[in-house]
Symmetry: C2
Subunit: 379 residues, 2 copies
């Protein structure tokens, strides 16, 4: 299940100035992006850790190929259809860091595992047996990670004895390779204070270590403990337990990650380019809303003008389907009708998923156009 191409023409052309890019658009400052990518790659390399960047954030094979070129072992995905796009786009090793249910999807996983190295998470013995049967039918081998719940209270078995039991089941099944543990703590990424994040990941590491030791003691393999995200990767990286990191958001960042108190922030590299489509004495209305950015983690921040010159005192307060209403509290003052602004999205992953193109810019000009080729991949 791979899409033919993105649905819409790009909102920009190579060589255009940022001011000329049609709005709404997602623009990526390439210098900032490259610095973020290099920094994460250097961190993993310096610690001898495997880096498996998360493609659910960018849903873009051009981005994935850049990450692999910098040393990532491959990418994570959350959906089989994302993995299919990534493999078709040249990524040789994809971990679906999520559970997969239902015969049609399992058959697709098995078919894909004949083309590339594919991993899947399991948290249920019957699901593991179904996956094994599908892989055997396809003549494929699938990497399997037992997912343990290390604090996210979402998917995953209870760490410890239940993890061992499921690992035994996986190890006993044909066409599955027991690769280790998925131990991702999503909500820890967004704890604001460093000491809160440290406590959450200390506990996650303890639970992962306990589970890994039980599996090893039973004579089973557990070569990889994988997890971590952009808010906590330094903690998992220093844990001595995790040996693979799954960060995604660090490449672009967003307003929510920007609110974390952290010693080593990544730069915001992705912005929503918006136009002022209406002006009233007390507010400006932008041509972006709930269909161009997600507000689940709060409103976007008004960051700069189209050229990147900082704007101050402007507050995006109200989003409707196609409108964003901005007020001025001192500072730069309200922008004029027709002018363009750069916004930092509240939450990067569901925002990128609304768009078909990333417009890469350098020195104020469009330098790259990357299709978000797994946009909408939800199966």
């Amino acid at each position: 299940m791979t899409p033919a191409h993105t649905q819409w023409p790009a909102p920009a052309a190579i060589g255009m100035s940022v001011e000329e890019v049609d709005t709404p658009a997602l623009i990526v400052e390439l210098d900032a992006l490259e610095a973020n990518l290099a920094r994460m790659a250097a961190f993993a390399r310096g610690r001898g850790l495997r880096l498996r960047t998360h493609a659910k954030m960018h849903k873009c094979t051009a981005m994935a190929r850049k990450q692999v070129a910098l040393g990532a072992v491959g990418v994570c995905c959350q959906k089989v259809s994302e993995a299919e796009v990534m493999v078709a786009g040249g990524v040789p090793d994809v971990l679906i860091s999520n559970e997969v249910v239902g015969a049609p999807k399992l058959a697709r996983v098995a078919a894909l595992a004949r083309e590339a190295r594919i991993g899947v998470c399991v948290d249920d013995a019957r699901a593991a047996r179904d996956l094994s049967a599908a892989a055997t039918r396809a003549g494929a081998n699938v990497d399997v990670y037992v997912e343990i719940d290390v604090g996210a209270r979402r998917c995953g078995v209870v760490p410890g004895e239940a993890a061992l039991q499921l690992a035994r089941e996986v190890a006993s099944l044909p066409s599955l390779r027991l690769m280790g543990l998925q131990a991702y703590h999503g909500s820890a990424q967004h704890l604001r204070q460093p000491e809160e994040r440290a406590a959450a990941i200390a506990e996650a590491s303890r639970l992962a270590k306990l589970s890994k030791e039980l599996i090893l003691a039973a004579g089973l393999p557990c070569p990889v403990v994988t997890g971590a995200g952009s808010g906590t990767f330094e903690l998992e990286g220093a844990s001595g337990v995790y040996n693979e990191l799954q960060p995604g958001s660090y490449a672009f960042m967003d307003a929510d990650y920007g609110r974390n108190v952290t010693a080593a922030p990544f730069a915001h590299s992705l912005f929503i380019l918006a136009s002022v489509m209406s002006r009233a004495p007390g507010h400006a209305v932008l041509d972006v809303g709930l269909k161009t950015h997600s507000v689940d983690s709060g409103m976007p921040l008004v960051h700069a003008d189209a050229a990147g010159r900082p704007l101050t005192g402007l507050e995006y307060r109200k989003a409707s389907d196609e409108h964003g209403v901005v007020f001025a509290a001192g500072g730069t003052g309200l922008p004029t009708l027709g002018s363009k602004l750069r916004l930092i999205p509240g939450h990067i992953d569901p925002t990128v998923n609304l768009h078909d193109w990333l417009v890469g810019v350098r020195n104020g000009r469009v330098a790259e156009l990357w299709p978000i080729d797994a946009r909408g991949a939800m199966w």
Copy 2:
């Protein structure tokens, strides 16, 4: 700017049972949809009002054609690219119920106005002059509606004298046809109590009437006063001022509209079909999240099983990018791993915009597959 086709294959095939539809998917109960469409059409016909259904909600030309076949004069859109898709899909009369800024978009409006009847809203004299120039260059005529702010505090000029001034400007410009007033009160749709909605629309009607009378007294035309949505259309319809209605959500409904206290509710006809992808003793995890439904107006409601049998006591409490966590508070109890559920989305418009297909079902079987062909149309 029209897309070649939707990006993804449909998650269903004609004749399949609902249980077999791949998830996530948007399923539409055709009997309920048709009843909703007929009811709104009958309301408008019975009052002698023009019905111009809002395509920003469904973004689907198959839906628009059904609405026109039932008597709608055409559709509204919020974006030029939506209007382009609607015209390409056979809709002969489209009102862009929104302001359009920037030379590239104005040129597209003008080009489109050579193919179909196209209307645009204006709330600024310079914008009106730019539109006139673009239309003249293209040899086209564009219908223009002066937008007045009747309480939404978003776009629109102040009703009264400012509306008259802008109407004079529009009437004086070549290639523009002054058609009347856009007087839409979006936030009134979601006031919970009938008396609150009545008060809001009484004031909106007063402001629209005042503006219309000034325009007529100046010897200018004002044949159409357009506005209204699914939460208030009966009020505008009875106002004696509005003669065109723009409802969209009534066709599908959503959880937010369902919370309105109203004597004449439409039926929920659209559901998100989701699978249980993980089970813990105290919760079930669904394969839907922020990339399959918007949470800006609250979480989805767990409504029924795949076949449509009602479920009770299940609460969707936590959405992350690709996961929805459901808890049981008595009632039916938690669903089993792999089972499928029907959810009612919190907010219909930004939810539909995340999907590429509507799967029409009747008597438990897939009967129609409609591409959401203006999905992602944001320019």
